[in-house]
């Protein structure tokens, strides 16, 4: 089939497409003249890291650039030029012939209208008729994308549905007018792995059924390998390499492609000896969240986020805590550090921390640190990097002189592989990976014994992810650190931890040494999780 497609006329032919943005610092060229074809019924993956221009290419073709963006060159849909087409002409193509689904299922639907109404709006706009007449078609579409009880759900609002369901609704909207091309921009990046596998399977089934082409924009090579027929690799606004999926993975030509493929985290961590002392422990941890009842309301409900979980971290150990969103893994991390109120027995080293209040915990804080997921939100934009990383020293080593603090800042930045000159600059001047290094420096400057790493690599590109993992492993072996590594990303957990805890709905599903969990999972949920992460698609 791929052979016959090669000779087919492309339905979308992109030639010398450029996208640029006017900014106060001058023009930024996001896409620098690329050529690509989309052939009928095929799946073309556009792969690249953040800033490669993969999304902006599609936004430019579809006339969806931000107000300061410009597109030039040519993009012909069945011979009709889309670049420079006035909105009226574009509106005949978008939503009918070419449709899109986006990365953000939570916000891509209008929160103020029922989902059925939003799908019907798209049908009515392109095909005429009334919203009432479109209703049976909407029901049919909801059934098609696997929304349970479509008759009831058709009148639901987006906020009443989960992320996976909302993405299904978006897919229903995309299919409503039987398009030729579906552009899927990171369609599963914001979803849990098990949901991700379901959505990809759905897309594949629907593609066969309707014989539409899918342009899959993604940074995830695992998905590409199992899903796409052809691959375009983009970097800094240019196409580095393109070809059949098997060729690209089997025999990559460009260094960049090779680097991307090899950036999958690898390596293993050996377990510490069994007699290594316990550094951080929580027994029978229970965390309840109150759901506020409000003034003059009957009763407040409670939600059990962590349900009777026990964990003991030994010196030099890394425990990976794995789970999907809402499994309670981050809450568990905060409870262990005594940052939120929780029940259970806690210990740090030889100190019983169960009954300690904020003041009691303070002297211990320097030895137990936390690194967050979001390298953009967790650093104050109004402080210099030097101020950010030395802030903890004011509390824990107030006797230090200004010069001493500066020395420590230089050392900490060197340790995480940053230029010490960085301490006089502000966070926004750094990339995501560099910011995460700053966050790690902030934790390391206090010379902690245990560090809770809460999804420290999830917001980063794969290649950067690998470097941060290397750094964390390096720091661990140099200082004998102990980590609790919280993540939804199984391949990263596998490379980082020697022991794994799998959580679901606040409870431990399964736990054990990393290799045992990955090679011989006992519980069905663990098997699903691993299956979904490593064998996407059939």
């Amino acid at each position: 089939m791929a052979e016959t497609r090669k000779t087919m006329e492309p339905i979308l032919a992109v030639r010398d497409l450029k996208v640029s943005f006017t900014t106060p610092d001058g023009d930024v060229n996001a896409v620098k003249g690329i050529n690509l074809d989309v052939r009928p019924g095929e799946t073309l993956a556009v792969v690249g890291e953040s800033g490669s221009g993969k999304s902006q290419t599609m936004m430019g073709i579809m006339g969806l650039l931000a107000a300061n963006g410009r597109v030039s060159g040519s993009a012909k849909y069945r011979g009709r030029e889309m670049v420079g087409l006035p909105p009226k002409g574009l509106n005949e193509i978008r939503g009918a012939k070419i449709t899109m689904i986006f990365q953000e299922p939570m916000t891509s639907l209008d929160p103020l209208y029922p989902i059925g109404k939003q799908i019907a709006e798209v049908i009515v706009h392109h095909r005429g008729g009334t919203r009432k007449e479109a209703r049976p078609r909407v029901l049919e579409l909801l059934k098609l994308v696997g929304i349970p009880e479509p008759e009831r759900r058709i009148d639901s609002y987006p906020h009443e549905m989960s992320g996976g369901q909302r993405q299904r609704v978006m897919i229903a909207m995309a299919l409503a007018n039987e398009p030729d091309i579906l552009i899927a921009d990171e369609p599963t990046t914001a979803l849990d792995v098990t949901i991700q596998a379901q959505i990809l399977k759905l897309l594949r089934d629907l593609q066969k059924r309707f014989d539409m082409a899918i342009v899959l924009i993604t940074h995830d090579l695992g998905i590409v390998r199992h899903f796409a027929e052809r691959v375009v690799v983009m970097r800094r606004g240019e196409i580095v390499e393109q070809g059949g999926t098997a060729d690209i993975f089997g025999n990559p030509q460009a260094d960049y492609t090779r680097m991307l493929i090899e950036a999958e985290p690898h390596g293993r961590k050996a377990a510490p000896s069994d007699d290594a002392p316990i550094i951080l422990e929580g027994r029978n941890v229970v965390v309840d969240y109150k759901i506020d009842g409000g003034f003059l309301k009957k009763r407040a409900n409670t939600f059990r986020a962590v349900d009777n979980v026990s964990i003991s971290l030994r010196e030099g150990q890394t425990i990976g805590v794995v789970g999907e969103s809402g499994s309670g893994k981050s809450t568990l991390g905060r409870a262990l550090l005594r940052l939120i109120s929780s029940k259970g027995a806690y210990r740090f080293g030889k100190t019983d921390t169960s009954g300690l209040d904020r003041t009691g915990m303070r002297p211990l804080r320097r030895s137990m640190q936390l690194v967050f997921q979001d390298p953009y939100g967790s650093l104050s934009p109004r402080q210099t990097v030097g101020e950010i990383i030395t802030e903890g020293l004011y509390v824990h080593e107030p006797q230090l002189s200004r010069a001493d603090r500066d020395k420590r800042a230089i050392a900490a930045l060197k340790e995480v592989g940053l230029d010490p000159a960085a301490r006089n600059r502000y966070p926004h001047e750094f990339s995501g990976g560099q910011r995460q290094r700053i966050a790690i420096a902030r934790a390391m400057i206090l010379k902690p014994q245990a560090v809770i790493l809460d999804e420290p690599t999830s917001a980063l590109d794969r290649s950067v992810q690998g470097q941060v993992i290397e750094l964390l492993r390096d720091l661990q072996s140099r200082y004998g650190l102990s980590y609790v590594f919280i993540s939804h990303d199984l391949s990263v957990v596998r490379a980082m931890s020697d022991y794994v805890i799998v959580m679901k709905d606040g409870k431990i599903v399964e736990e054990g040494p990393t290799d045992a969990i990955f090679s011989a999972p006992r519980e069905d949920y663990t098997k699903t999780l691993i299956g979904a992460a490593y064998n996407i698609g059939p």
């Binding site: 005949e92 009918a96 916000t107 891509s108 209008d110 929160p111 103020l112 978006m170």
Partner: protein
């Protein structure tokens, strides 16, 4: 929904009680009294007046009496407008203030939203800057300047409209005071609308609407505007309460027999009961409009629906 309304009304009772109590004592602790005139009254007369209005009683007893009467709707006699009770004064003036305030509110809301939306859609263009500069002027120029200027131009120079008074209550008499009253609020609505529209137009679901080929009109009106209305609706409550209970300045300039003057006159003359009556009136308006706005909010946004 009904339970929500009842619960909110029930919680209004303690609010009103606290407002009335605080104003009662604040008023009494202010120096002077209703009968301290420029030419002092003879002590005997003063004593008689004080006795007649029970102002010689201990403060706590006066408070209890006032509260007891207020519950039954009796807000006492006015000390200055001698032949009228406070309820009569307010009852007579309120319809004028409410009618004028309603038109002013309508003008401010509709005008502000339209102007703000145009500015948002043409963000950073000449129109945007022009509209927003005018809006800034609208906020900063006080209505005791706007009122006389309007009168000068339209009533005296051009002689199109009457300079003041209520007349037969026809629109001709209302136009100038309505504009003077609405202008600052219109400017606030315009600024609010512009800000929230710009934000709304940047959301992901607007990108979706555009990606699905919906025409600009339905993207703006159906999808962006409804979400952008939420902050405007929040401002509606205090604004409506302020406009409908009258403005001392505008009513004085245009000699309109509304209730707006009473608060200022009452405070200046230490007309205790009149001030208290006005306070209760304003408090009730604020409470009722906040409730209406919360209901409206639920209708606009399904995520905060009360059931």
């Amino acid at each position: 929904m009904l339970a929500f309304v009842l619960r909110r009304l029930a919680s209004a009772v303690p609010t009103l009680f606290i407002v009335v109590t605080i104003s009662f004592f604040l008023m009494r602790f202010a120096p002077g009294g209703p009968f301290n005139l420029e030419r002092p009254l003879p002590p005997a007369t003063m004593e008689n007046l004080m006795r007649a209005y029970q102002l010689d009683q201990p403060l706590w007893r006066q408070y209890l009496t006032y509260m007891g009467n207020a519950v039954t709707g009796d807000f006492g006699p006015s000390y200055i407008y001698k032949d009228n009770s406070v309820a009569e004064l307010i009852g007579k003036g309120l319809p004028y203030s409410v009618e004028l305030g309603f038109y002013a509110l309508l003008l401010a809301l509709v005008g502000g939203v339209i102007v703000g939306t145009i500015a948002a859609l043409r963000q950073n263009s000449a129109i945007d800057f022009a509209v927003m500069s005018v809006a800034t002027i609208g906020v900063t120029v006080p209505n005791f300047v706007v009122g006389p200027v309007l009168t000068l131009i339209f009533a005296i120079v051009l002689a199109w409209l009457p300079a003041g008074g209520w007349g037969d209550g026809s629109l001709r008499f209302l136009i100038l005071p309505m504009i003077a009253l609405a202008l600052p609020q219109l400017a606030v609505f315009a600024r609010l609308t512009r800000g929230s529209m710009i934000e709304a137009l940047r959301t992901d679901h607007i990108r979706t609407a555009r990606a699905y080929g919906l025409p600009a009109k339905s993207v703006v009106v159906v999808h962006a505007m409804r979400g952008a209305m939420l902050p405007i609706v929040s401002y509606l409550a205090p604004c409506a309460a302020a406009l409908l209970t009258g403005s001392a300045v505008v009513e004085t300039i245009f000699t309109i027999p509304g209730v707006g003057r009473y608060f200022v006159l009452g405070a200046i003359n230490r007309d205790y009961t009149l001030v208290m009556g006005t306070v209760v009136l304003i408090a009730i308006f604020v409470i009722v409009f906040n409730l209406l706005v919360d209901i409206l909010y639920g209708l606009l946004d399904p995520r905060v629906r009360h059931d």
